[in-house]
Symmetry: C2
Subunit: 359 residues, 2 copies
Amino acid sequence: MKKRVTLRDVAAAAGVHVSTVSRALDPKTRHLITPEVVSHILKLSEQLAYRPNAAAYSLKTNRSRTIGIIVPDITNPVFPPIIRGAEDALAQQNYVAILGNTDGSPQREEEIIDIMRARGVEGLLLASVKARDTVVERLAAEGMPIVTVNRRVDDPGTASVVHDERDGTSRILNHLVGLGHRQIACIAGPQDLSTGRDRYLAFEEGRAALGLERDANLVTVADSFNESAGERCAEELLARDIAFTAIVCANDLIAIGAISALRRHGLACPENVSVTGYNDMPLADRLLPPLTTIRVAQYKAGHAAAELLLEALSSQPGERVARHLVLPVEMIERGSTQAVTVKAKGRARRDTPARLSPA
Amino acid sequence: MKKRVTLRDVAAAAGVHVSTVSRALDPKTRHLITPEVVSHILKLSEQLAYRPNAAAYSLKTNRSRTIGIIVPDITNPVFPPIIRGAEDALAQQNYVAILGNTDGSPQREEEIIDIMRARGVEGLLLASVKARDTVVERLAAEGMPIVTVNRRVDDPGTASVVHDERDGTSRILNHLVGLGHRQIACIAGPQDLSTGRDRYLAFEEGRAALGLERDANLVTVADSFNESAGERCAEELLARDIAFTAIVCANDLIAIGAISALRRHGLACPENVSVTGYNDMPLADRLLPPLTTIRVAQYKAGHAAAELLLEALSSQPGERVARHLVLPVEMIERGSTQAVTVKAKGRARRDTPARLSPA
DNA sequence: CTGTTAGCGCGTTCAC
DNA sequence: GTGAACGCGCTAACAG
């Protein structure tokens, strides 16, 4: 491996002292040096392909130009756009990111944060937080700059970029009611995550506002935002033997699982049961059936979160105010929802005795 | 932010010299120190939550314990499993990765590599290489350890982990012929990428071996591995006004695009035309229709590639031999392929005059 | 076995 | 305007 050219090499070539080169190369201190010398040094360092040594810079200044991004699992299609957005924003300021996957485990999260701190990350972008997150609380107390993205923590002291869950859920409900649905089931997401909780709260709120009766039997809570949890919850709803014509799912993967489970029980989506997702993840439009869902701007969220973090890094610790961004969402109507038909209405299950349906 | 505890702090607390602490903490040199002293130091450093400063280590040893992973676009569902596999392998040796997206642009690739070198990455994991890649050639010549994953470069001097493209393509062809297809079109991938080229070569080889006639009209080449390229190529095939009952696509996204284009022209998959993908990306089983495709072990490939790279890093520059791994693939039969029906056979297009179909 | 010493490459405070 | 000197936190060579 060719050895790297250092400040010293450039200085030797230019016939000046290292510190002169250092100053000439830094736009902030460049004015201290004679213009001709500056241009000479600039040309030379270009020629020699001088690249400052990040480790030395970091050791000296205690600034690593690195931040940590922590997600539950990069393999979940929700996260890549967030990461991409964040990295694009970071790159503009010569920052890079190192990535960690927690698989939802708080211990793993702690380990990863430990590793990242050893690496001297200047801040953290967290897509993995629980609503009540002791790891984050402790870190924030120590003054580590943190921005959560997609999810947030209850403590308003931690900056966040999230989506308008209430509006999204309300649009879904209005859409379904507009199609004639009155018996609407809900597969809520994990209630220890802000997204799962906020969407569920918005569901109950919207349901009440639309004059639909509350029925605890229509609600089930998934322990995870994935397909198998969706399947399990749909099975549970079906086992309860109650009537519903639509299911509002906490995210797209849950919806996919639910549709599979329905199909196994001989129920077609949307003919027998309408199903909605949330996130509009990649390929949601190509599924069988294409998902009616809420489009959230994940790339934008990642981008904005990184910018918020960079902003916090460049401000003094004292003057930091945790900022919170709520991005607007959009409803995307596709094939997984349709108007209630007389046939499907009332009773969602096929081979069980009919029962009185309210209204 | 709480200031970090350094070796010096631990040394002061233990009443010994820094270098003693350094040695006690390193398993390799620990045997030089009296066991009681070691355990005392270990306990103390634990207590003080000592974390070695990565920048200082890196500056001193010239080893950053960081590698660069470069992909075309993390948003493409093929890459997250590769990245995840690589990161899991790296983590076992206390390495971390920084990520870069090239969007397929060689200039961007060069910029990213520049940034990564400034960061002192010890090696590179490349999922972005062209078959002929001057950037990689130059880097390899300079001695930078490189492993390509998923794709490879023509130069056998660069280590790689790829999948058995020939076997995969041959399975697809056998499957289709077994279903009675004789007029099989092909949407090949970009021919400057090893995957696109190898799959296409295997297609021609397999076609000949199966005794199918060569027809240049049945082949089209996509300029990119995505849905819109798939749509364009399918349109092109249709415009040529030739008969085919199946299309072999270079990857899943192309297949998805092709199916969309067919549908726009009133052709259903698989009823009128069978379509195959490649990669078995996440959700390929949930699409409309579910894709018959080749499953490649992306996580495993990423994992293996990272291990290969770590191995190269720990060996002496002299004794390095570029290793090449070819992982086995598996065919997954789903709904996008079916036996040729009398009705569909011969002529794939509906509202155009029929034409003689060979055999 | 342990302490001493000498940098790794850079930014920064002093002198000049 | 420029050079000299120092040290960030750590490892490694050498002493003892």
